[in-house]
Symmetry: C2
Subunit: 238 residues, 2 copies
């Protein structure tokens, strides 16, 4: 699930200045992950144990583990990102003072890659280099590819995703509370979770500009395959 996250985020990030949309996106991401892994775990156990209480206990443990790993992990990673940006920024200021010619060459190089003629590279670089703050900002963005991180956004996102993961994880687990055998629980769990995965996949794909029905199918498929595989493997270890 992490790799999906990464790709989606690289698309989603562009819109993250719309805070409310980022919030909704975080909820959708957390929920669809939360739906997938606890669902597959519960399905796997259903093939191997005969007590609903055990499935529920394991599911709860997984939800707690997963949402803490996501929430706390994201929180700490958010701090690290801010520190990383500040350190690189300080280094750029230092380089502009002390290795001015090298920085000028690097700036020219960036414009050369854009396809500018040597003459314009020269002129543009001279203009950029006039204002120290603007120059550093330019190097941060175009040499290092770093945008100034909002010190709160990453943490807010992490918490939203962590909490949504926990809520999402309850969907596949709840049927095991209200049924008497793991098999019965599994049936209801699969029905409700696959429907929810499809709905979330639809909105997630819409938010990232993908084809919504195809995206919904993919998300549902991942959940179904993960659950089927977990079921099969757990049966072997029964």
């Amino acid at each position: 699930m992490d790799t999906i996250r990464h790709h989606e985020n690289s698309i989603l990030h562009k819109e993250e200045h719309l805070t409310s949309s980022a919030f909704i996106t975080d909820i959708v991401i957390g929920m669809s992950d939360g739906l997938t892994v606890p669902f597959a775990l519960a399905a796997g156990l259903s093939g191997a144990v005969d007590s609903n209480a055990l499935v529920v206990t394991a599911g709860i443990a997984e939800i707690v583990a997963g949402s803490i790993a996501m929430g706390l992990g994201g929180f700490l990673a958010g701090q690290t990102e801010v520190e990383h940006y500040d350190a690189e920024q300080k280094r750029e200021y230092w380089e502009i003072e002390n290795l001015r010619q090298r920085e000028i060459d690097e700036t020219k190089e960036i414009f050369a890659e854009m396809g500018l003629s040597p003459e314009l590279q020269e002129k543009v670089t001279q203009e950029i280099a006039k204002d120290k703050n603007k120059w550093v900002e330019f190097m941060m963005k175009y040499e290092l590819g770093l945008e100034k991180p909002d010190p709160n956004q990453a943490r807010k996102s992490a918490l939203t995703i962590g909490i949504s993961y926990a809520f999402g994880g309850m969907v596949p687990l709840l049927p095991y509370f209200f049924t008497s055998t793991p098999f019965e629980g599994l049936i209801w769990s699969a029905v409700t979770t696959l429907i929810c995965l499809f709905i979330f996949g639809y909105f997630k794909s819409k938010a990232t500009g993908q084809h919504p029905w195809l995206g919904a199918l993919k998300v549902t498929l991942i959940g179904a395959v993960a659950a089927a595989a977990a079921f099969g493997v757990a049966k072997l270890f029964e």
Copy 2:
């Protein structure tokens, strides 16, 4: 864990042209995630059940679920990323043909944001707009923030991360094979896993340019907190 991934990837990505280093990074990422969640799940169950076989079954089911969600999810997300790039590229070519003036204004706008004077904005834009392919490439990168995705890298990464997750997950689980009570298993699992998390945290932080000891501590802390919380909550549901 997903949010960590996302932040780390935004840093790691810059170095991804070094394929061998990307490969090692993927292994480290998959393993440290695989160490965390199955560890916490097994720890949680150790507080609630009295059979090692159950802990092992649940752990295996989680590993299968998690690595499929990661591997297959990443594989499909990689395809989507390539499709997304191609669609946007096609749109840019169309816009350059049919909405030329708007595209010229957008290009100027990009240079205005870099801090160039109106005169140079004009000149630079004229030069960029001469070569259609270069112009589209420029718009893809600087207007949309999209780099041409390597059609294979995302999938390769996803598979490497998925497989590493599975291997990482075996570390916290193996002690339960060789001990007779879940409590005994938990002790050995915690010792070996926390050591491994510390080592992986160290290398992961080094690879992303973070402070290695501090990073190692953070990664270990996340694992420990997740395991302790899962243990506590599962005890309530015992």
